[in-house]
Symmetry: D2
Subunit: 374 residues, 4 copies
C-alpha cells in the first residue's frame, strides 16, 4: 500500500485534530494511500516528542524549517498560529512539498496571493482546512441546491457566531492584534461562513456592503502591564450580491453570548428552503413547496448512509458525526487529491478569495458603500 | 359600567380578528370600560349586515363615511385596505373620533405625517395594530432587555419572512402595486420587524443601509388580460445603526419558502442573549453568561402567569396564547388608554416612524449608501 | 338568529375559560345559534355579580339550584369543583337541561354511570370538556390516522405530566383528598390522555396494567393544624392493549418537574409516525416511510387553514392557536350538536369510559396484574 | 510506552467501529498504554487481510481460534454475531486473555452467567460495549443525578426505538431467529436502555412488568424458499420498580417508523429533570425547579470541555461528538482499566444483569404479572 508521509507543525487545538484524523482516516475510508505520521514540530522539543509518541509520529523536532525540508515528508501540514502560515507555506513550497494549512490562509490578501503564486508555480497541491463544508449534512445541502431541488436560489443567510471573547477579562492576545490575526471575528470565524456562502450556492460573491465593530475596545495586556487597544473587529455583518442575481447576508462574532459553534445558514430558493445549524451538525431542515397541500413543512433529515460520506462512519442512520469526523473527511480528500492528481478544494487560490472578501468588507465598512470584490 | 362604542370598517382577515378581540376582551381582562360593537361597515351591505349579526354589532352600513360621523361611535377602527387608511383616518379625526388602525399606517411618510398632525391637533387618541409586540413572550423579552439582565445590547437581528407570494401563479393584486401597497414585503411585513426593533431595544434606529429585490418581476393581471410588472419589493434586507451604538440587521420577505409566520429575533447583550420565533410564539430562549460553568445554555421559557399579560388568559403556565390573543391585549390597551387618558403605543406618531424607516431603506437601496433616518 | 341560553356554574379557571369562549364563539364560527350568557352562579354573590357584568351575563345568583331550574336557561355548564359535578348534573338533567361539564365527569365509575343513565333517559344532550382533542393539530393527527396515511397503528405512547404539586410545601387541598378528587394525577390530568388515546387511535382500550405512586406522602393541612396523608396518586403509568391489537402506554403526573402542559403523544404505524407535544400545540411532526430515500424525516406541520378548524381563527398559516381557542371550538361543537340534533363527543357515556379506565388502572395497581376494562 | 495488543474478531459494522477507535484513541487521550492492532480475524481470509492492511493490523487470520490463543494478543475483542459470543469468550478466557465484547453479551442468562463465572475464575478483565453510556452528555446526566442536583429521582422513562426492520420485505435473518439472536428488539437495542436505566439512576431494577409483540409475524426466508415465522419481539415495553423506590418504564422497538437512533430518556427528580435524545447526542436538557420564578425552563446544555471526556476531543464547546467518539472513550476505559488494574464497567457480571432483566420482562409478558428480577 502506498503511503503519504505527513510533517505536522503545531500541537495545539488544530494540530491535535489533524493528528486524530491522520490516525483514523484509513480505518474509516478506503484510501489510495495510507497517511503516515512522519514528523511533528513544536517550538518546545519536550512537547513535540511527547505528542509524537502519543500521536504515532515517527520523529519530532523543535525546528519547523527542518521539517519542511525533510526528505521523508510528502505533505507539510501547518497548524501553527495564523501569522506564521505565510512563511511556513512558502518554505514548504520552496522545498517542493504539498501543503495542507489551517484557515485563514493569511493575514492579508497580498500575503495570500503571494502564496497562491508560489504554490501554482511550484506545482504542489494545497488544501486549506475549511472543515465545516465537509460535514455530511452540509454536503447534502450543497447537493440539494445543485440539483435544483429547491429551485433557483433567491436568498442566502449565513452566520458564524461564537462567544469565546465575550468575557472582557480575557486578555489582549494574538486574536486581538492586527499583526498576528489580521481581521478579528471576520477573519477567524467569518472566513468559514464566507467560504461556505460560495460553496453552498455555487455562486461567486461580487459585491459586499459591510460593517465591523469592536465591542470591547481595550483589554488587559497579557503581562498585566496595563490596557491595550483591541485592533480588530469583535463582530461584523455584511450584505452580499452574487454573480447570478442572488442576494444575502452574513454575520460573524466572537462575542455573541450563547453561541458556541454558531455556524448556521438558510438557503431560500424558488421551490424550497434549507436550514442548518452546526450546533446540530447531523441535521438538515428541508422545505419543499411542491409537497402536498397541508403536508408542507420543514423536514428534519438526520444524516445517514444515503448522504455524502456518512456511510464510511456508520452503516446505520442517525448515529451522528462529530467535529473530528469532518477532519477525517478532509484528510481523505487530501490523500485522494494528491495520489490521484485531482484538484483539491478549497486550495490556496480559493482560500485567497476569502481574504479578498474580508478585505472588501473592511473597505466597505470604511467607505460606507458597496464594494466590488476584485 | 362605562362603555366604549366601536365603529369597525372592514370585514376581512383583520376586521374579523378585531371583532373577536372586542367580543372577548372584557371576559379576559378587567377593563375600565366595556368595548361595545356599535357599527360595522363593509362596501357590501349584505356582508356588513350578516357579519354584524354574527359579530354582535348593533348596526351595519355600506358607507364608511356614515360610520366615521356616527354620533354613537367613540372609536373608529380601520381594517380596510392600506391605501384607504389615510382618507378614513383623516375623516374620523375630523369627526373627533379616536382612531385604531391596522398597519402599515400609510403608503408614504408624507401621508403618515399628515395623519399624525391631524390627530395631534384634534387631540384624539390613536393606536396602530403592530400586534406582535403584545405577545407575552415578546413583552418578556422587552422586560429582560430593559432590566439589564442580558447586559448592554450589542447586536439585534430581526426578520419577518413569509411565503404568501412565493407562487408565481399568484396574480398581480393590491400587494404588488405601488399605488395600493406602497412598499412590498418591506411595508407589509417588514413594518412589523422595524417597529419591533425599536420596541425591543428601547433604542432608535438612526442609520440604515438597505437592499430591495423583486424576485418575480411580472405577474398575471387579475382580469387575465396579460402580465403586469410587479412594482415593489418581494424581499429586502438592511443593516442598522441605533442611537446608543447598537448595530443590527433585518430581513423581510413575502417569497421566503417555508416561512408562514416568520417573525423572529435575536437580541445579543454583553451578559446574555434572547432568541424568539413567532412560529413558537409562547416560547422565549434566554441565555445568561453568568450562569454556572457547565450549566450555561439557552433556557426555553414557556409563557406563564408570571409573564406579562399571560395570567388573564390562564392561571396555568405553558397552556399557550394564540394569534387572536395578541389582539385582545391590544384592545385592552386601547380601552385603558382612552378611558384613563394614557398615551397609547404605538400611536400614529410612532407608526409614522416606521414609514420613515421604510423610506430610508428604499433610498439606501437606490444610492448604495448608508442613509440617516430623519 | 336563534339563541342558546347558557347558565354557567363556577367562576374559577375553567369558568372564565368557558365565558371567554361563549363570548368569542360567534365571531369566530358561523353558528346555527348564538350562545347567550344568561345566568352565572358562584357561591359568593358579589363575585357572581361582578363576573356577570364583566363576562356579559344578564343575571347572577349564588344558588346553583336556582340556576339549573331557571326557565331561561337552555344549557347548564358545570365548572364547579369535581365532587359537585354529580349532584349538579343530576339536578340539571331532572330540570330537562342540556349539560356541558368539565372533566373528570365524576369521582367514580358508579357516579358517572348514574349520570349517563339519567341523561340518556331524559334525552338531554351532554358534553364533557376534554378540550385538547379539539386543537387543530390534534384533529389533524386523528385525520391522518383515520385515513391510513401512516398505515396500521402498532404503538401508542401518551403522557399528560404537569408539575403543579411538585412543591412539597403546597398544602393538602381538594386535589389530594379522595372524597373531593377521586384519583389524583390519574383523574385530573390522566383523564385527558386516556380519552385522547381512544380518540386518536379510533380503538378501544380493552386491558390495562398500571402502577400508581404517591410521591409526597403527607402535606400540611390548609388550616395549618398539622400534616395529613395524601390520599391519591401523584404519578401513575400503565401499559395498554387495544381492541384491534395495538399496544401502548401512558404516563401521568402532577409532580413532573419542568412539565407545564405536558400532554404529548407518539402514534407509530406500519407506514409512518406522528409526534405531538401540547407545549407546542400548533405543531405536528409527521414521518412517512414512503418518502424518497435520503429525504425521510419528521416534517413539522404548522397548523394552518388547510387543517381542521384553523381557518376560522386566521386565514394565514402558522399564526398559532391558543389554549382558549380550543374551548371556542368546543363551544361550537356544543351549539351545533344541540341545535342540529347531532351526537356530541365526548358525551357523558364516553366520559364514563374514562372513569372505567381509571378504575381499571387502580385495580391493576392493587393486584399487580392486567385488568380487563369492563 | 507500554502497549496493549488487540486481537479483533469481526470486520462488520462494529468491527470497523472498534478499529477506528483503536487507531484514534491514543491521539485523543493520554493513555497509560498504546493499543496496538495486532491480529484481525474474519471468516473470509481475503476480507481479513484487506481490512487488516486498511485498519493497521499487523496480521490477519480466518480462524478465530488461532486468534484467541495467539501469544501476542493481550485482549480479545469480539465483534462477531451475538450467537458466537459465548464460545469465543470462553475460549479467550481459557487462553487467559482479557475480553472486550459487543452487546448483548449472550443469548440467555444461563450463557451469560457461565461466561461471568469463567472470567472471574480466570481473573481476566472484561468489558461489554454499551457505548452510549460513554457519551459526554450522558455522563453529565449521570453526574447531575449523582450529585443530587435534581433531587431524589422519582421517575425514569427510557426508550431505544429504531426502525431497521420496519420494512416487511426485509428477509428473515439472524435478527429474527431465537437461536441466533435470543430476544428481538428487547435484546438488540433494548439491552442498551436497560443497562442505561441502572447506569443513570445508580439504582437496581428489582421488579418488571413487561409486554412483547411481534408486529410482522412472518418474513421471507433469505433463500427465497417461502415464509418463516419471526421468532422474537419486534417491540416491547415494561414498567419498572427500582430498589430505592423509583418507578419508571422503558420501550424498545425495531419497527418504530422514523426513529433512527431513538435512544432517549427522561429523569425526573424532586428538584428538577433531565431530558436526552441520542439523535441530538451532544445536547442535554436540564430543568431546575429552584431557578428564579419566571426563569424556569429546560436549558439546553451543549457538550463542552467542562463536561466529562469532551475536552480530549476539542477544547471548544459545542463542536460536537459523534458515534465513533463514544467507542474511543470506551477504548480509553478498556486500556486504563487493564493497565491500571481498575474495575471495568460494564463488565460481564454487569452485562449478565441485562440478560436477567430481559428474561424477567419475557417472563412477565407470559404470566401477565410483575416479576422479581433475580
Amino acid at each position: 500500500m502506498k503511503t503519504l508521509k505527513i510533517g505536522l507543525i503545531g500541537t495545539g487545538f488544530m494540530g491535535k485534530a489533524h493528528a486524530i484524523a491522520f490516525n483514523a482516516a484509513s480505518s474509516v475510508f478506503e484510501l489510495p494511500a495510507k497517511p503516515v505520521c512522519e514528523l511533528l514540530a513544536d517550538v518546545d522539543l519536550v512537547t513535540a516528542e511527547s505528542r509524537a509518541r502519543a500521536w504515532g509520529f515517527a520523529r519530532a523536532t523543535d525546528d519547523w524549517r527542518t521539517l519542511v525540508e525533510d526528505s521523508d515528508v510528502d505533505v507539510v501540514d501547518i497548524c501553527a498560529p495564523n501569522f506564521l502560515h505565510k512563511e511556513m507555506a512558502l518554505a514548504a513550497i520552496a522545498a517542493g512539498k504539498h501543503v495542507y494549512a489551517e484557515k485563514p490562509l493569511a493575514l492579508s490578501t497580498a500575503d495570500a496571493e503571494e502564496m497562491v503564486v508560489a504554490a501554482e508555480k511550484a506545482g504542489v497541491k494545497t488544501l486549506v482546512g475549511f472543515n465545516y463544508i465537509r460535514n455530511s449534512a452540509t454536503q447534502l445541502a450543497r447537493q440539494i441546491v445543485a440539483s435544483g431541488e429547491i429551485g433557483e436560489l433567491i436568498h442566502f443567510r449565513g452566520r458564524h457566531n461564537e462567544d469565546y471573547l465575550l468575557d472582557p477579562q480575557k486578555p489582549h492576545d494574538w486574536h486581538t492584534q492586527r499583526a498576528t490575526a489580521g481581521a478579528g471575528a471576520l477573519g477567524d470565524v467569518g472566513s468559514h461562513i464566507l467560504n461556505m456562502a460560495e460553496f453552498l450556492t455555487g455562486q461567486r460573491i461580487t459585491e459586499v456592503c459591510g460593517q465591523l465593530q469592536t465591542v470591547i475596545p481595550t483589554r488587559l495586556k497579557a503581562d498585566g502591564s496595563g490596557m491595550a487597544a483591541v485592533e480588530n473587529d469583535d463582530q461584523a455583518q455584511a450584505m452580499l450580491r452574487f454573480d447570478q442575481g442572488l442576494i444575502g447576508n452574513i454575520e460573524t462574532s466572537r462575542v455573541a453570548a450563547g453561541r458556541k459553534m454558531g455556524l448556521a445558514y438558510t438557503l431560500t430558493g424558488t421551490k424550497g428552503a434549507i436550514v442548518f445549524d452546526q450546533e446540530r451538525m447531523s441535521e438538515l431542515q428541508l422545505y419543499r413547496h411542491g409537497d402536498a397541500h397541508g403536508r408542507r413543512g420543514f423536514t428534519t433529515l438526520l444524516a445517514g448512509p444515503e448522504h455524502p460520506d456518512y456511510a464510511a462512519f456508520s452503516p446505520a442512520p442517525g448515529h451522528g458525526l462529530g467535529y473530528n469526523d469532518q477532519k477525517i473527511i478532509e484528510v481523505r480528500d487530501l490523500v485522494e487529491g494528491i495520489i490521484n492528481h485531482r484538484p483539491l478544494y478549497p486550495d490556496f487560490r480559493e482560500a485567497a478569495r476569502v481574504n479578498r472578501l474580508i478585505d472588501a468588507i473592511e473597505t466597505s465598512d470604511q467607505t460606507g458603500q458597496w464594494v466590488t470584490v476584485p
